[in-house]
């Protein structure tokens, strides 16, 4: 007669990594809907290409590493990386751009560092940075949003979009600079002038046509994740607050030297995507609460600095990667005070 020996606890929340990842995927839906509504089906094609590439690369590498393929594919982590990257890449960009970005993300940034749980840098952001540095022209051409299209123009249909993606035909007619890009290159104009001259701002409700809704979509997704307790509020909120504080500090009453309004910064570019889907990546972020707050705030500040005074129009990827470097360091110095201890233990002392 033998009874099974199982250690406590004998109860489990039935939470699982694949559940977490699935929830994250679901939370991206509002944002994706907004993207598709304002910019056409380009993002959907990006997602399809990115997901297929990611699954193929993941399976191949797992095979090379002699790991159970089905077990790891089921955790959906590769899909999350692919979806986040697919969202970040411009709609209608060439297919190979997506493949290169996703492949780099999965192979270089994830598996070469040890795979799931061991990568120090956010894979999606590594993929993004690789392609933005390598192919800046393709990466800075963004589709014109619905509402400010030229007279007689319409959003690309699914078939013509495919043509653009695979034939490498230019979509010049349908594309332009992103609001952040425009803002950056309008030197000498006051905010008032920019807003009245550029239709993308003039037609907008709060920040920029299309973009404001995309950001709000990701904000809704993020709120859902918070509700589901997939992550804590610390990192995203501190990032948004830091970005807003920076924007307020350098608002300069909307003069020609102004860095833009806080609302503009919060609802432009990849702000909300970054705050709720990138900064919250547990693997590459800080783990303690204070660490998360510092991590988020640092990201927010660096985003603003690069957007306003740097060379790249958007900066979420760079900011996150820079803060990824600091994450272990932050964890060292922000260990919480344990129950029954007067001070938090300084771990670094012991490690020397």
């Amino acid at each position: 007669m033998s009874l099974p020996q199982i250690t406590s606890p004998h109860s489990h929340s039935q939470n699982s990594t694949s559940n977490v990842m699935r929830t994250v995927l679901i939370a991206t839906i509002p944002g994706i809907v907004a993207l598709t509504h304002f910019f056409g089906p380009g993002t959907l094609y990006n997602l399809i290409i990115a997901c297929s590439t990611a699954l193929a690369c993941e399976a191949a590498i797992l095979h090379l590493r002699n790991r159970p393929i089905a077990f790891y594919l089921n955790d959906f982590s590769a899909l999350v990386t692919a979806v986040l990257l697919g969202i970040a890449l411009p709609p209608y960009c060439p297919w190979w751009l997506v493949v290169v970005g996703t492949g780099s993300a999965i192979i270089l940034a994830k598996h070469l560092y040890g795979g799931m749980g061991f990568n120090p840098f956010n894979p999606a952001m590594v993929g993004y940075v690789i392609v933005i540095i390598s192919f800046p022209v393709e990466m800075t051409t963004w589709a014109t949003p619905r509402g400010i299209l030229a007279e007689g123009q319409e959003l690309l249909g699914p078939l013509s979009a495919l043509g653009h993606i695979f034939s490498d035909a230019s979509i010049d007619a349908y594309s332009g600079a992103t609001p952040l890009d425009l803002f950056k290159h309008q030197d000498g104009l006051t905010l008032q002038q920019i807003y009245s001259e550029q239709p993308i701002f003039a037609e907008a409700r709060w920040a920029a046509v299309g973009w404001e809704w995309v950001n709000l979509g990701f904000l809704v997704g993020g709120a859902y994740l918070l509700y589901r307790k997939i992550f804590t509020w610390h990192a995203p909120v501190s990032m948004l607050v830091a970005l807003a504080v920076m924007a307020i500090l350098f608002y300069d009453n909307g003069s020609s030297q102004s860095g833009g309004s806080p609302i503009f910064h919060l609802l432009s570019g990849g702000t909300m995507l970054g705050a709720f889907f990138i900064v919250t990546d547990p693997v590459t972020g800080a783990t303690s609460r204070l660490g998360k707050i510092i991590f988020g705030a640092g990201t927010g500040i660096v985003i603003y600095v690069i957007r306003t005074w740097g060379n790249y129009p958007d900066a979420v990827a760079f900011a996150v990667l820079l803060m990824n470097f600091a994450a272990p360091f932050l964890d060292y110095y922000t260990t919480p005070r344990s129950y029954g201890h007067e001070k938090r233990r300084v771990i670094i002392k012991d490690s020397e």
């Binding site: 099974p4 929340s13 129950y339």
Partner: protein, 779 residues
């Protein structure tokens, strides 16, 4: 309303408490047998005081606590002790432990109890002793002896009665509060009395037990004591942990490594309080408890009043346990309970729940996935630890880091494992790491002790070696001293013979060195002053010095006149000294004769001495050989007796052991016979004894004899040689003295010299005789 401080972390697992609350408490039937492990508590195991075959009554002490942190064990029913042996223990290790097994006689007859009806007439110390004697331990799970907690030396300001019962499934405390609210309040008043009336008495109950809260509130209302309060706590696991409870109710944290008493707080579980009360007012020891029987693998889920020692298998049978549907059998709750490895384990004092969940309730753990550092564990940790870092360092076995991350503040509540999306059994890693660290610390202590022992041993060996070496040196020095003394006597004679021919007396450098040594040794002796040899040497050296000084004076006369003056004064001194020495030497000639006689005597004796020593050595060897044989004989006899005894006690069936024993007995007998034969023979004669000596011993004796002979021979030959030299020098000195007599004008000096000459001639004759004798004996 009382302020409730928030606690970090915690989880909300499904409560699953209603299943077992549908029915009131029932009495579990009397089992045919009770098994009472002697260790059911924290601290030292109790010592059994009954033997197999003893009749015991219900409530009778069967195992006694050896020290304060331990607990007495009492028979939970009347019957006969049928075994005191190792039985499977209800313990996470699944190990066995000493248990007293009592066959129930079915009468369930109590022993005589000694209740204290009015405890207010007794002092707290006496009552606490009573509680201790009753074997009351913490019944919430840890099993810490209750009396130790109550006998706190620090003044207690807050008494917390723990009725939180935060762990899912368990309802034993809940139903106890519902059923025995009034008695429980009386029990709390007893504890209040024992702790000298703390400022507040808080009964903590989680909000998910409304009925218990209601009953307890009503029960304390009759007291009309503002210190008493029922505190409703938010339901969150593990809020019922002692540390969490203290934090929520006082806002203070129990310092790491300390107990709540450090903050003036004592926590007691409701069941413990009731047991202590019954021990005092009814005299009943802790022999039964309420246990929740739950999990869908039981056909009937409820709370049972169970005798301590009731076999689990008996309860399973009573409650319709279905082995096929159960995924595991757990003692305790789903968060901190442990799986039982044997159904033969008994219920013990800390068994608050028996959980048999089905596969649906507690599915097998999924495969462990990679940690994604999601941090959910850190959010769940009630001790504000970083479970994720602890996990990494546990895997890396980095003990320093684990300690730095406060691994030992982990209360193993399992909240982190519960929330982990990667299904990593975190608590298991921490338990293993803790065990390893403890093990290493024990090993470290052991090895340090061993090192100390070794060093001490080494030091002792060195000291012994040094002592032996010193003893050897001393012995050698003594021997040398004796030899030198002998030699000195001869040298002295020689020197005396030369005394009147100082100027011409030249001695070889070796002889000079020997003389120095001899002179040193004699220095202590009284006659040293009168020693002719030394005198002679003194004269020589003084003369030398004189010459040197004179040479220096000549040198200095030219360079430094005042220094020369000083040296001249010293020359004068030296000359005076020389004169007195020479006088002394002259008067000494006479006394030498006697000394020569003494030497002669000693030398003739020495030969017989050596022979005697050799004989003694042989005898000694023989003696020790005899004793050795005797000793060997004794040991053999003893061994034989032992073997025979063993043989007698060995089971007939165990043929292997038996034949081995028989063989060794035979061999021993043979050996003994030989030894006896050997022991008898040496008594007859010396020659026989020699035969019994071993080869080594024989050769040792032979060597000793040879060495003695050689020494004797050497001594003899040296003597002859020395004597010959002595004669020659004496002759030379006589001649020189005669010359000096002829040359001296001074009458007194001449007289002295003549006297010396006479004595020298006598000495020469005697030495001549000695020489003849020695020569004869050596040839």
């Amino acid at each position: 309303m009382r302020q409730i401080w928030p606690t970090p972390g915690g989880v909300h697992p499904p409560e699953n408490k209603t299943q077992s609350l549908g029915l009131p408490i029932a009495q579990c039937p009397l089992p045919p047998q009770v098994i009472l492990p002697v260790s059911q508590h924290l601290g030292a195991p109790a010592d059994p005081i009954v033997s197999v075959g003893d009749k015991v009554l219900k409530g009778q002490l069967v195992a006694e606590a050896p020290q304060q942190v331990s607990a007495n064990i009492h028979a939970s029913t009347s019957g006969t002790v049928v075994a005191i042996e190792e039985r499977p223990l209800p313990h996470p290790s699944g190990l066995s432990g000493l248990s007293i097994v009592i066959e129930a006689d079915g009468k369930d007859e109590w022993c005589e109890l000694q209740p204290i009806e009015d405890y207010s007439r007794s002092g707290p110390t006496e009552l606490i002793q009573k509680i201790q004697a009753a074997g009351v331990v913490g019944m919430g799970g840890a099993g810490f002896p209750a009396a130790v907690k109550l006998a706190s030396r620090t003044p207690i300001t807050t008494l917390i009665i723990n009725g939180t019962e935060c762990e899912p499934y368990i309802t034993s405390d809940d139903i106890l509060m519902r059923t025995y609210a009034e008695e429980l309040v009386e029990a709390i008043r007893l504890l209040d009395y024992l702790l000298n009336g703390p400022q507040e008495v808080l009964i903590a109950i989680e909000s998910n037990k409304p009925e218990a809260i209601e009953k307890m509130t009503a029960a304390i209302a009759t007291l009309n004591d503002p210190r008493y309060e029922v505190v409703t706590l938010p339901a969150k696991y593990p809020n019922g942990g002692e540390k969490q409870l203290v934090q929520m109710l006082t806002g203070k944290e129990v310092p790491s490594g300390k107990i709540p008493a450090a903050l003036g707080v004592v926590c007691q579980n409701v069941a413990t309080a009731l047991a202590a009360y019954r021990a005092v007012t009814k005299g009943e020891p802790l022999i039964s408890r309420i246990t929740t029987i739950t999990g869908n693998a039981f056909s009937e889920q409820r709370n049972l009043e169970v005798l301590v020692g009731t076999p689990i298998s008996f309860i399973l049978q009573q409650q319709g346990y279905s082995k096929d549907t159960a995924s595991r059998l757990v003692m305790g709750g789903p968060m901190m309970g442990f799986t039982l490895l044997s159904e033969e384990c008994p219920v013990i004092k800390t068994t608050n729940c028996l959980l048999a969940p089905t596969q649906e309730e507690a599915p097998a753990n999924g495969p462990e996935q990679a940690c994604i550092r999601c941090g959910m564990c850190a959010e769940a940790c009630p001790a504000s630890l970083l479970p994720q870092q602890l996990y990494w360092y546990s895997r890396a076995q980095d003990e320093d880091k684990l300690k730095a991350y406060n691994l030992f503040d982990c209360i193993e509540c399992g909240a982190c494992s519960y929330v982990c999306p990667s299904q990593i059994p975190l608590v298991q890693y921490y338990r293993a790491a803790k065990g390893e660290i403890r093990q290493h610390e024990i090993e470290k202590k052991h090895s340090e002790k061993a090192r100390e022992r070794f060093e001490f041993h080494k030091e002792r060996i060195e000291a012994e070696k040094a002592a032996r070496a010193k003893a050897r040196e001393e012995a050698a020095a003594k021997a040398k001293l004796r030899a030198e003394e002998k030699k000195k006597a001869e040298e002295a004679k020689l020197a005396q013979a030369n005394s009147q021919a100082t100027d011409s007396d030249t001695t070889p450098s070796e002889a000079e060195a020997k003389k120095n040594l001899v002179a040193d040794i004699i220095a202590g002796a009284k006659k040293a002053q009168d020693d002719p040899a030394r005198l002679a040497r003194n004269i020589t050296s003084t003369e030398d010095r004189l010459k040197k000084l004179q040479a220096k004076v000549e040198e200095l006369e030219q360079s430094a006149p005042d220094q020369a003056e000083a040296i001249r004064a010293r020359i004068k001194e030296t000359e005076v000294k020389l004169k007195s020495l020479q006088d002394k030497q002259a008067t000494l000639g006479n006394s030498e004769e006697k000394q020569v006689d003494a030497t002669l005597q000693a030398e003739s004796n020495s030969q017989s001495d050596i022979t005697l020593q050799a004989e003694k050595a042989v005898e000694k060897m023989e003696m020790s050989a005899n004793q050795k044989v005797q000793r060997e004989l004794d040991t053999l006899k003893r061994k034989l007796a032992k073997i025979t005894e063993q043989l007698a006690s060995t089971d007939e069936a165990d043929s292997d052991t038996r034949s081995a024993l028989e063989l060794s007995e035979k061999m021993l007998k043979e050996k003994l016979r030989k030894a006896e034969a050997a022991a008898n023979s040496p008594a007859s004669s010396k020659a026989d004894a020699k035969r019994t000596l071993s080869g080594d011993e024989q050769s040792a004796v032979g060597d000793a004899i040879t060495r003695s002979m050689e020494r004797a021979m050497q001594k003899q030959s040296v003597d002859v040689e020395e004597l010959r030299q002595k004669i020659q020098t004496l002759e030379a000195r006589i001649e020189a003295t005669q010359e000096r007599i002829a040359a001296t004008d001074d009458a007194t000096t001449k007289d002295a010299l003549r006297k010396g000459l006479v004595s020298m001639q006598t000495k020469l004759e005697k030495t001549q005789a000695l020489y003849d004798m020695a020569e004869q004996s050596s040839e």
